[in-house]
């Protein structure tokens, strides 16, 4: 693989850029793999990458029904933070965040991780209490975050109307090394690295069935034929319920549409990411200049990648109230993604009732930020057959036992 660098660009510029290789190969499937990963979203690709990198397992196929990165990884608002309340969450999201810091260099692909800071506004007394609680927990969890006052909020975000009038800003939980990354690049960078390790990224290939022998997975049936495997990892986000049905079990997961939108681009107006949970809306400005806006999820099961208009209204209302200057900007595009919501709104990284079959799902509205950490933990689970410390708490049996990992308790939302 040709390494990317400024020198490579300069060299290619002199010869009409005809020396660039394919970023990833486009192979036909082999008959058998050590591990098949279903779903070439960020989580599936990261799982593959760390299987190769951390465990030397490279006879791996990542099977994708559409174009790689085209699921939620390609349609999210790219917020990365790790100041979660519960220990297991803070651990995996912080692992992910710290891996993001060096991911461009690790992958030799600029994924544009931008630690510009994320603030979650406190606009009620109970939000203050929730965020203070998170701040205390984070201190012991090794996550750097702090509660800041309204003046500091205004200094960081001059376009914010901190005086309400409906919900004056009382402060914010501020994680300075949280931020955003270029979502597509995350998928592309991992895919390129996987391909470079000799793994097969197989696009336009849908898994339609799962075969097993004696309670152990043996093969997946796909639109490109049946492919044998020793181990199977299902990493398909909104389609997890469907895959689980193929494997003969049900999940505590429902698939619903979550929407986002962008405004027309303008010159830099806001440098940090703001989440306003009381009024339901969050906002950041991309490097291209659009305001990237996310809002609420639908409440009904849906696989159409279109959501209900009312959420766009609700979110816009909230953000125009919070950032009055937005009123005369224009919405350029809106879209939806199908997210997988679990019973406690926390993810699942787990063994399943089918042998040698593992699932990673339930990231719902907030799993872009966890991609490297989740891939790391999932790779360990797949390689060893047992969860490591990062994954342990996220097992499926927590629902039966009542061992929820509930993040909403501190007035936070899961993005």
């Amino acid at each position: 693989m040709r390494r990317y660098s400024v020198f490579a660009i300069a060299r290619e510029a002199m010869r009409q850029h005809n020396g660039w290789d394919r970023a990833w190969a486009s192979p036909e499937p082999k008959s058998h793999y050590d591990v098949i990963i279903v779903g070439a979203g960020g989580h599936g690709l990261a799982t593959a990458y760390y299987l190769g990198k951390n465990f030397g397992i490279k006879n791996v196929a990542i099977i994708e029904k559409g174009w790689l990165g085209g699921g939620n990884t390609g349609r999210n608002t790219t917020i990365i933070r790790s100041n979660y309340l519960q220990d297991p969450s803070a651990a995996i999201y912080e692992k992910a965040r710290s891996l993001y810091e060096t991911l461009s260099q690790d992958l030799n692909y600029n994924i544009m991780f931008s630690p510009r800071g994320v603030m979650m506004l406190a606009q009620t007394e109970s939000e203050i209490r929730g965020y203070r609680r998170t701040e205390y927990a984070n201190t012991l969890q090794g996550v750097e975050t702090r509660f800041i006052g309204p003046n500091e909020v205004k200094r960081l975000v001059p376009i914010m109307n901190i005086h309400g009038p409906r919900y004056p800003v009382l402060g914010a939980l501020w994680q300075p090394r949280a931020g955003t990354a270029r979502h597509d690049a995350v998928a592309w960078g991992y895919a390129r690295a996987c391909s470079d390790m000799g793994m097969d990224v197989i696009q336009n290939c849908e898994v339609t069935g799962i075969e097993s022998v004696g309670g152990q997975v043996s093969a997946v049936v796909t639109t490109k034929g049946t492919i044998g495997t020793k181990k199977l990892a299902m990493v398909v986000a909104g389609h997890s319920g469907h895959l689980a049905n193929m494997a003969g079990f049900r999940l505590p997961v429902e698939s619903v549409a979550l929407q986002a939108m962008v405004s027309e681009p303008i010159k830099p107006a806001i440098d940090v990411v703001v989440m306003a949970n009381t009024v339901h809306g969050y906002l950041s400005q991309s490097d291209k200049g659009e305001m990237v806006i996310g809002g609420g999820a639908d409440h009904f099961n849906n696989y159409t990648q279109r959501g209900s208009w009312m959420h766009i209204e609700e979110t816009t209302r909230a953000l125009v109230e919070t950032f009055p200057m937005l009123s005369r900007l224009k919405m350029l595009r809106q879209w939806g993604g199908i997210v997988d919501m679990t019973g406690d709104r926390s993810p699942i990284i787990s063994k399943t009732p089918l042998g040698n079959t593992f699932i990673n799902c339930g990231w719902g509205t907030g799993g872009f930020k966890s991609i490297p950490g989740s891939g790391w933990a999932m790779a360990e689970l797949v390689a060893k057959g047992e969860p490591g410390p990062l994954a342990q708490a996220f097992s499926l049996d927590r629902f039966r036992e009542g061992r929820f990992i509930d993040e909403s308790v501190a007035a936070g939302v899961a993005h």
Binding site: A8, A91, Q123, S263, E264, T316, R328, L332, R333
Partner: protein, 997 residues
């Protein structure tokens, strides 16, 4: 030079000239002009700069598809970035400024990017700017951010001066587009008696036909259009809306219309925009077609325009794009432009036609008036720096190595054929089919978007349906709208076949391809798309994201089809195999203001007010939002701090008497023969054995066993209970009870009625509470015996119907009095008056919280957070052992719930009496497997207790209740540790003597 023609202009009123400024320079245009017509009329071709390379940009189109001519419009509270000049109607005093350049439009330092363009191909930033690591955030990214973006951001403190609103409408047929196809369809549907709405995005009806000089039903198209409009306006079942764009098509026939009510009259006392939310039986999209540009080197220079747009400027606004125009085409339609220019007295230097021969009627007409037609030719390259000065020609069927000829010109009118506007068809899942002959995608009638009944609800007509000939257009629209009788008649103008041309010359070299713009706003060139294909970004969606093709503010209306043709060619596959990217709403950008609608300022969100709200406000209350309610947090007097106010309120209440507005508490009446059975299922306690006249505190859990609400239940009669919920819980619990009643126990006879707002509920609290009530005058015996603790009575106080509950959340003698909401203020006033001699004063939620904490009472939302079960709070006494079942019982039986390791509620006192930090944890030595400090408890609420003169707190602690007296360390401020002792959570009046006097 572009200029105004001395005659003509069907849309302008030359008697009314309007002054405006562009970049501070005064210019003038006419009533009826768009801003771009006026600018071109005034000779202003250069309109802005492109996104990435900061290349000079001029207008290319005449409508919504315009990618280039974006300006900042207005100032201050009416400033708006990225406004398209082609869709901006001129008004007097308009102020426009160009964008994305520094220091000036004419001289832009950022244009250096253009010189470096070979170093900045598609995706360059993924490949470079990787090292050193810190540079991305601190050096590279700020540069990228600064040079990207387009318009200037509005000022930070800007408040929009305008208002917006929504409107819900319903109709049988909504017609999108007021061209001849739309009008034909609308008239047909209207005559059939259907409820019809027609939305046309511009200020004028008729679309292309009047410009093209079509003749319909024997009259000029514009006359025909006026006639149809007059008929439609006269019909009661028809609503005709101009300046209203169908912005989005959503599931189940939900259509959004964006009406620009007052954009052309800024300052008028009208809503600026109105968002129509229309539920339609059928949507007929008659949105026409958009002309395609051609890809040739230098095609992005100002002066290069769409042929149809040139025609529009000439015919509609009497504006010529230049003095000497070259027309370049692959089809007959562009000859109409040549003819229109010629007729207007503008020199048409030549028509460059890529086809080997141009034999149709229109080319013949052009030749007949002396226009030169160059067949089989192509533009090799446009010459000029900030605008077109000449074109170099070559054979179309060549690599462009040899220049055949150079023609001087100052404008180019190009036509690559047409693409139906299929956006609306596609927004909600309608599929397309490829038309090989005309080389475009059009709606596939077999795969329309589906409505709630699974049937297609969208039909496309006219050019939007791929009909390019006027006769076809009219009959298609008439038939699709099920018109009766004859379709409107028109005179056909036969056109010869077009030749698909995606790049000219056909085998252009890299040097040329690197100068052929596909997306002029985002600076995506033919070479970029080819590079994406080469690098494996082969899905059209990957190409889009890798190159940003079609992601600009015009969403690729001009560029997408050419881009995917280039991509298909690079991949060696057919265009339909490549497919399109996803069409998403809105059709063109709509203001965020209109999406928010009227919901600004006081009506941003409903604010729930108790009957005493205004009184609290008048006291200078400090409010706390609780759900949509606002509750008094405290009532600071003068310069008093909030903390001091709380202390004063507590002291007043504990020593004499205080008054609390508790109206927000939920009040649910449960009544019926099975009411007892129902409350026994809802509460963990046994409730059915409560005696009439008595009250009992109860807990509600969800099916997981987690505590979800609590409150006092009063038995009103044999078959009725009044259940109090938390303020935030009333609606949720009401819905929850209805859920169980309707969906699980539907044979049970019980009603639940939400009486929350019927009553103002006022707590009179403190040792002097009884005296106050007695002084107010009552027909009830409110004595210790007459109304014992945990009893209620109906009667009158201060001559107001009242229900009095003797319950206490503060530990003091306390009466909660419910009176009709309409008399809440009267009761409150009477209590204040009667209590004056005791110094009665209102207290807020914070005093309430402190007092309940002093008593060790839990608070939903403080001690509970959705993961806490009653057992954690030592509330086992409230969990009935006798009942077989109640909601949450099964959940509590799970392994983790019965684990001896759960954290349990205790009181906490700091050793030094200070107030411990709310939410802080009690760390243990050592770390877990993930390197996180282990913990053994956390503070759930913490206050300064004025009653005890020290900090008090509650906490959930591992094995807490067995560790009374033990010292334990918690996190303090700024990383410090604070030592505390585990104590009983009841800090005050453990025996309960005070409340029971």
């Amino acid at each position: 030079m572009s200029h105004r023609l001395s005659t003509g202009g069907r849309l302008i009123d030359r008697s009314r000239s309007l002054e405006f400024t562009f970049n501070g320079k005064s210019m003038s245009g006419y009533e009826g002009d768009t801003l771009s017509a006026a600018m071109l009329g005034a000779g202003q071709v250069l309109a802005g700069r492109s996104f990435k390379y900061h290349r000079p940009r001029g207008v290319v189109a005449s409508g919504a598809e315009e990618p280039n001519a974006l300006v900042g419009l207005g100032e201050g509270q009416r400033y708006e970035p990225n406004q398209r000049t082609t869709t901006t109607e001129l008004f007097s005093g308009l102020k426009a400024t160009s964008q994305n350049h520094w220091p000036s439009l004419e001289f832009d330092v950022g244009a250096i990017n253009s010189k470096l363009s070979r170093f900045l191909p598609a995706g360059f930033y993924y490949k470079m700017l990787i090292h050193p690591r810190a540079f991305w955030k601190h050096v590279y990214e700020p540069i990228v951010r600064h040079s990207a973006g387009l318009g200037r951001a509005p000022d930070a403190e800007t408040r929009d001066a305008d208002r917006y609103e929504h409107f819900y409408a319903f109709c049988d047929v909504l017609v999108a587009g007021g061209g001849v196809a739309g009008l034909t369809a609308a008239r047909a549907a209207a005559r059939a008696g259907k409820r019809v709405i027609v939305m046309e995005q511009t200020a004028h009806f008729g679309g292309r036909a009047p410009v093209d000089g079509e003749v319909i039903d024997g009259m000029p198209a514009s006359e025909w259009v006026d006639g149809v409009l007059a008929e439609l306006h006269g019909l009661e079942n028809v609503t005709v809306l101009e300046r209203t764009m169908v912005a989005g098509v959503h599931d189940h026939g939900y259509i959004l219309g964006y009406q620009r009510v007052a954009d052309h009259q800024p300052g008028a006392d009208k809503p600026r925009h109105r968002l129509w939310r229309v539920r339609v039986g059928q949507l007929i999209t008659a949105t026409g077609a958009i002309e395609r540009p051609l890809s040739f080197a230098g095609n992005d220079l100002p002066g290069v325009m769409l042929a149809s747009a040139v025609r529009d400027y000439v015919v509609n606004w009497a504006v010529a794009p230049g003095k000497r125009v070259v027309v370049v085409t692959n089809n007959d339609d562009a000859y109409r432009t040549a003819l229109a220019l010629h007729q207007a007295g503008v020199t048409v230097t030549a028509v460059i036609d890529a086809r080997f021969e141009a034999t149709g009627d229109l080319p013949a007409q052009a030749r007949a008036v002396g226009i030169r037609v160059a067949e089989g030719m192509a533009i090799r390259q446009v010459l000029g720096s900030k605008r077109v000065s000449a074109v170099a020609l070559c054979r179309f069927d060549s690599d462009g190595g040899a220049v055949a000829e150079t023609l001087e010109c100052d404008a180019i009118a190009m036509s690559g054929g047409w693409s139906p506007v299929v956006h609306l068809w596609s927004h909600c899942g309608g599929k397309l089919t490829w038309d090989d002959a005309r080389a475009f995608f059009r709606p596939d009638p077999a795969r329309p978007p589906l409505g709630h009944d699974g049937q297609g609800f969208v039909a496309a007509v006219g050019s939007a349906n791929g009909m390019m000939d006027i006769v076809e257009v009219l009959s298609d629209a008439h038939q699709t709208a099920q018109g009766t009788g004859e379709a409107p008649q028109a005179e056909p103008v036969p056109e010869a076949e077009m030749l698909p041309v995606w790049m000219m010359p056909k085998q252009a070299s890299y040097e040329l391809r690197a100068k052929m713009w596909l997306d002029p706003q985002n600076d995506v060139k033919v070479s970029d798309v080819q590079l994406a294909a080469q690098e494996g970004y082969a899905s059209v969606e990957h190409t889009k994201r890798y190159t940003t093709l079609g992601m600009a503010t015009d969403q690729g209306k001009l560029s997408n089809i050419n881009g995917l043709a280039i991509l298909s060619d690079a991949l060696g596959q057919a265009i339909p195999q490549t497919g399109t990217t996803t069409f998403r709403p809105p059709y063109t950008p709509i203001s965020l203001g209109v999406i928010a609608g009227e919901a600004a300022g006081p009506v941003f969100q409903p604010l729930r007010r108790t009957p005493m709200h205004a009184w609290h406000e008048a006291q200078g209350v400090y409010w706390e939002p609780v759900g949509l309610w606002r509750r008094p947090y405290c009532y600071p007097q003068g310069e008093e701090s909030h903390a001091d106010a709380v202390i004063r309120e507590i002291n007043q209440t504990r020593t004499s008497v205080g008054l609390l507005d508790a109206s927000t508490l939920g009040k649910l009446l449960i009544k019926g023969p099975d009411a007892g059975k129902l409350v026994d299922m809802l509460y963990t306690n046994m409730m059915s054995n409560l005696k009439v006249g008595k009250c009992r505190y109860g807990l509600m859990c969800n099916e997981n066993g987690f505590l979800s609400d609590d409150g006092v239940v009063a038995r009103l009669s044999e078959d009725s209970f009044l259940c109090h919920t938390t303020s935030g819980g009333a609606d949720r619990i009401h819905a929850w009870i209805e859920d169980w009643l309707q969906c699980e126990w539907w044979d049970w006879q019980a009603h639940v009625v939400n009486l929350t707002e019927q009553f103002a509920q006022i707590a009179v609290v403190g040792p002097n509470a009884r005296k106050v009530l007695e002084k107010m005058g009552s027909d009830m015996d409110l004595s210790r015996e007459g109304l014992a603790f945990m009893e209620w009575r109906d009667g009158k106080i201060a001559d107001i119907r009242a229900r009095v509950f003797r319950i206490s959340f503060s530990g003091e003698l306390s009466y909660e009095v419910a009176v009709p909401a309409s008399q809440g203020q009267a009761f409150w006033d009477a209590a204040l008056k009667a209590g004056a001699e005791f110094g009665i004063a209102p207290y807020g939620t914070e005093a309430l919280h402190v007092m309940r904490a002093e008593k060790g009472f839990i608070m939903i939302g403080d001690e509970t957070d959705g993961t806490v079960i009653p057992q954690d709070l030592n509330l086992n006494w409230a969990i009935s052992k006798k009942k077989d079942d109640f909601l949450g019982k099964r959940g509590m039986e799970r392994v983790h719930m019965v684990s001896p390791d759960r954290w349990k509620l205790v009181g906490i006192e700091t050793l030094d009496g200070s107030v411990i930090e709310d939410g802080s944890l009690a760390p243990l030595p050592g770390v877990n497997e993930n390197g996180q400090r282990r913990t053994q408890g956390r503070i759930t609420s913490s206050y300064y207790s004025p009653t005890l003169g020290k900090g008090i707190a509650m906490a959930l602690v591992h094995n807490g209740p067995e560790r009374m007296g033990e010292e334990i360390a918690f996190q303090g401020k700024d990383g410090a540790t604070i030592m505390a002792r585990i104590v009983d959570p009841v800090f005050y009046d453990k025996a309960g003597e005070k409340q029971n006097v």
